[in-house]
């Protein structure tokens, strides 16, 4: 059984092996469903020249934004960025490289990477700056561009629950990119709100099977809200 026990007890153990110049795929959409503690650990490790594959880049003092302060990120592969001033400064001064990728193409690139599919054709981005330098092919009278898959040296993921074997369940829209990210890391590290005993999760309710997961750590999350919007009273 111990061969399937994915639980680690420290952040040092969780991110062991991360070195300069690696590619890290991070789950999360905005500040929702981000692996807060794993990002903080990367900041603590001061690993440099990292490429991050993540839909967004956090804000100045939260999420991946905190890695910008120490210039730990060399390149971002994202669909929407610039919610923070330091990002803007580093991008405009050329210190930070950005590869803008349509959100669905980004999700599919990661999904394909995890599923052993090296590339796929999509209509998204045809005829736009995204298509520059990419192969175009026509199927049934419509034009598609060839997009290549993404894999990471590490994937960092946030889930709601994990059992000791790394079977994962996500919570509400904190799911977002996390299931895709989990499949596409050579080493997939998951931060969870709750670790449950094996057998507590029904086999049919598991979102990510443990085969994709290498390490699981339990955490408490701040869960910062980016845009609090409330129903009008009355």
């Amino acid at each position: 059984m111990s061969g399937f026990n994915k639980i680690v007890s420290s952040y040092d153990e969780a991110m062991a092996g991360l070195t300069d110049n690696m590619t890290v795929i991070a789950g999360g959409f905005g500040l929702c469903g981000i692996p807060e503690g794993l990002i903080a650990q990367i900041k603590k490790m001061q690993t440099k020249q990292l490429t991050f594959v993540s839909n967004n880049c956090g804000v100045d003092d939260f999420g991946l934004g905190i890695l910008l302060q120490g210039k730990q990120i060399k390149k971002m592969i994202s669909s929407y960025v610039g919610e923070n001033a330091e990002f803007e400064r580093q991008y405009l001064s050329g210190e930070l490289e950005v590869e803008l990728t349509p959100q669905g193409t980004l999700a599919e690139k990661i999904r394909a990477g995890g599923a052993g599919i090296p590339a796929f054709y999509t209509a998204t981005g045809y005829g736009t700056p995204v298509a520059e330098g990419k192969e175009v092919k026509e199927f049934n009278g419509r034009k598609y561009i060839l997009e290549e898959a993404i894999t990471g040296d590490f994937a960092i993921v946030r889930a709601w629950k994990s059992d000791r074997m790394g079977n994962l369940v996500y919570r509400d829209t904190a799911m977002n990119f996390n299931p895709e990210a989990a499949t596409a890391g050579k080493i997939t590290v998951v931060e969870v709100e709750e670790i449950v005993e094996n057998g507590e999760l029904k086999p049919t309710e598991i979102h990510t099977p443990g085969i994709y997961v290498n390490r699981v750590i339990q955490a408490t999350f701040e869960k910062r809200i980016e845009r609090l919007t409330l129903a009008k009273e009355g």
Partner: protein, 219 residues
């Protein structure tokens, strides 16, 4: 009088059909949700992974794990489902979303749209817009007819980098409802009190004007 943001949203809402799965972009498109006709039901898709988006939560019901594509806190309606990003975009790219409404900087007479990038300014990214315009069956653009300098946003050819090609069917502006087909803009309706001449003057691309252009019906 030209329409305000709410009135543009009201006019767009008249295009919705009972049983439509709908994705609304940020800005005016978001307002469309407030004007869905009472006698029909639609399901709102939010591309971060929610089908069946409900209203904003009360203070007691706020949950950081429940947000929409604009990163706003939201709720889910009965019958909603929540899924991963690749599943969300499989719905969009696979043509399963019936109706998409989004904003734009420019639209041209061939149905091309530019909405995500102004060169030499900070480029924030396209988010899901390129997937939406490539995938949805019916796409409506909402925008003002002209920019704040008075220049038309309905052009013979877009000048800004494109979000998608040959994909926009209809544009609802503060002045008019315009259909795009056969390489031209076709004037369908005008805002109450707005003259056909003003629309012609503020449209740069090829505009086909029928003899009778009815006024929009805005309640």
């Amino acid at each position: 009088m030209s329409l305000n943001r709410e009135q543009i949203a009201m006019r767009v809402a008249q295009e919705l059909k009972d049983g439509d799965y709908v994705n609304l972009g940020i800005g005016i498109p978001t307002l469309v949700a407030s004007f869905v006709p009472k006698d029909i039901e639609v399901m709102l898709q939010s591309e971060n992974g929610l089908l069946g988006m409900g209203p904003y939560p009360t203070k007691e019901n706020v949950d950081a794990d429940m947000i929409n594509a604009g990163k706003e806190t939201v709720t889910a309606i009965t019958g909603a489902s929540i899924f991963s990003s690749s599943q969300s975009f499989a719905m969009i790219r696979g043509g399963h979303v019936d109706f998409t409404v989004l904003g734009a900087f420019e639209v041209d007479q061939n149905g091309n749209i530019a909405s995500y990038m102004i060169p030499r300014k900070l480029v924030k990214g396209m988010g899901g817009a390129m997937d939406l315009v490539a995938g949805a069956k019916n796409i409506i653009v909402t925008m003002t007819h002209a920019n704040k300098h008075g220049h038309s946003k309905l052009l013979s050819k877009c000048t800004l980098p494109l979000t998608g090609v040959d994909c926009i069917n209809k544009v609802v502006t503060d002045l008019a409802v315009i259909e795009i087909k056969d390489g031209a803009f076709h004037l369908l309706e005008r805002a109450p009190g707005v003259s056909v001449e003003e629309i012609i003057e503020k449209t740069d691309g090829k505009l086909i004007v029928p003899d009778d252009v009815p006024e929009m019906k805005i309640d």
